[in-house]
Symmetry: C2
């Protein structure tokens, strides 16, 4: 509820019931008007362009009507109502967070010691709340396990169906992570893989990856996930200049397959939004190409920061480990969470299938579930 | 060919035959060593991590051998050869371009008056050079037409097959852009659409869009494409402070369908790499959500820049127009080129199919073709 509204031609100042005040500009209010000539009643899409708004838009009247804000715009002589709650939600007259390298709201960073967030196949497939919780874990923590699933090949596609769509690539709709254990060839088959994000040489990167276990009777082969955002936070706190270098210059990544594939990207290891929010990590020793966009006099400091970030990522105190059983899988936010594999050996076999998908579908499915009323049955 | 090489423990300085000199750091050279213990001979992937390189890496010897650089690293006592041509290609000891809002190499911006780049269906499907030229046009200009194709539904999927993979979304693998012309309902069916990029509310956005014409006997309905990079260049030159505002703060985009879809993004209208290269445009009046990340005291200037960018985009001198005939299509780089539709009316029908895909596949296919030898038959 609003207590009062005052205005001059370019700004409305409103006071809420609790005494807080906030201001909105005439142009912002007009552009975001909620009337049916401005916003389509069905899907909420805007029906006007910025050019349809008079350049001399001004507020000719403003007042409180039933606790909400009523504004009349000149020269259109158009009156629009803005609900008090909507205004409170969309206030921009506040101290904007501009902390360099900050973590976005809704994200919780972690390291070793947390219980891996996990859903159960049957529940997630059939129960709204279980599915919502599983999706919410991916949004908040950047990864989640799924246990108790079938051991049929292509089951991973049913995981993607829970929230969105597979992103097909040159590796196919999905790919086999299958290596016969051969002790004579451990250097190739059984060695661990350093924690990494997948396909940094691809732009846009696949923003989700699903790894689904079909066989895992080898010794070792544990999966490890590392929160790249926590690693970046640590680097930021320990070496802010180094963090700024990794965020401030593009790295280069490249993958040349033998089958007509030549993927290259020019993106930073630590990606920030223009106002400093952490939005992505790219880290992959195997596909890092020569870095040529860092000035000569900053290259040694850049490399020192890269080394430090690698040490943080490799620190055993950072990783959450688990060994997938057949029918178990995990999903990672590939813009944030790195995954590694412990070396493995001995008799038995290890067969995973992997695929890529994108966060837009997952976050959309989650947001739509959170907006909807809970189902009566739950 | 190298003429000479000198070194201290941390830097090698080389002189090329033409007298130019450049420097490389010990850590950079060691990380990018090309020997088979560092890079897999098959696919070129790096076999070591940054942590595998000694922290006290240093150059103990450097010299010219057969015109190339030979470096011995301490404490490993490892000697590696770097070809002179490779060093010339990967020099970073140069004035890096840091011009704010600059256009990347290989991109040519344009406005009305250019001939729309175009390929012919049969040639592009069967001839290597025609396909390469068509892909190269998309990379350089951000769009290209394709003429003379079949008029069967789903032909657009064959366009995507030329270079990569469809990105399925909540709109399906592809979607119908089909509107029965109904003069009593022009406000809904026949109105033009302002030039826009698709799905800015999706993160990652689909980076390519294909629009394929199956029927177009209505009057009007012309397609218009606008180079968003040229528009951004104009804004940058006319109003650098406004350009910096649109690049410096995230906008918000949102689409709420009625079918469990709620897509939201927080990304700038003008996206730059961290070192100032223009990498993307998002512009869509219909799905712009309230902008809440711009400080109060900068909001009016932000909106003025937004209006100015809209005016540049709407300027008829910016757009390239064409009317698709059945069997014709065009592809746009959806991170750069905006597309619009003129209003249409009269008898007849207009039926397009659209789908999304991604640039990684297209640029990879192009790069692989450009690296390969030309086919003997061509």
């Amino acid at each position: 509820m609003l207590r009062s509204a005052t205005h001059d031609p370019s700004v409305v100042t409103i006071e809420f019931d609790d005494g807080t005040t906030t201001r909105f500009h005439a142009i912002w209010l007009r552009d975001n008007a909620l009337d049916p000539e401005t916003r389509a009643p069905g899907n909420g899409q805007r029906l006007i362009t910025i050019g349809d708004i008079p350049a001399d838009i001004a507020i000719s009247a403003a007042g409180v009507v039933n606790g909400d804000l009523s504004v009349t715009f000149a020269p259109e002589n158009k009156t629009v109502t803005f609900p008090a709650d909507w205004l409170a939600e969309h206030s921009y007259d506040r101290a904007q967070s501009i902390a360099f390298g900050r973590i976005a709201p809704g994200i919780t960073t972690w390291e070793r010691g947390i219980d891996a967030p996990s859903g159960e196949w049957a529940a997630v497939q059939s129960t709204r709340a279980a599915k919502r919780d599983w999706l919410a874990a991916v949004a908040e923590f950047g990864f989640a396990k799924l246990t108790g699933g079938p051991t049929e090949p292509e089951s991973l596609l049913k995981v993607a169906d829970l929230f969105g769509y597979v992103r097909e690539t040159n590796y196919g709709p999905y790919f086999e992570v299958r290596t016969e254990v051969n002790p004579t060839n451990l250097a190739y088959t059984g060695l661990g893989l350093q924690a990494h994000t997948d396909n940094p040489y691809r732009d846009p990167v696949p923003t989700l990856q699903i790894l689904y276990c079909l066989e895992n009777s080898a010794e070792g082969g544990d999966s490890i996930v590392v929160d790249g955002f926590r690693a970046a936070e640590k680097l930021r706190d320990e070496n802010p200049e180094g963090f700024a270098l990794l965020a401030g210059y593009p790295a280069r990544f490249e993958y040349k397959g033998s089958d007509g594939v030549c993927l290259r990207s020019r993106r930073p290891m630590i990606e920030l939004s223009p106002d400093g929010e952490l939005v992505g990590i790219r880290f992959n020793n195997r596909s890092s190409a020569p870095i040529v966009d860092v000035p000569f006099d900053k290259m040694e400091a850049y490399y020192a920061a890269y080394r430090q970030l690698g040490e943080i990522i490799d620190d055993r105190a950072m990783g959450v480990s688990f060994k997938l059983e057949p029918g178990e899988s995990f999903i990672v936010d590939n813009t944030r969470v790195l995954h590694a594999r412990l070396g493995y050996s001995g008799a038995g076999s290890r067969w995973l299938q992997g695929c890529y998908a994108d966060k837009d579908g997952l976050l959309s499915t989650l947001a739509a579930m959170e907006m909807a009323q809970p189902e009566a049955a739950e």
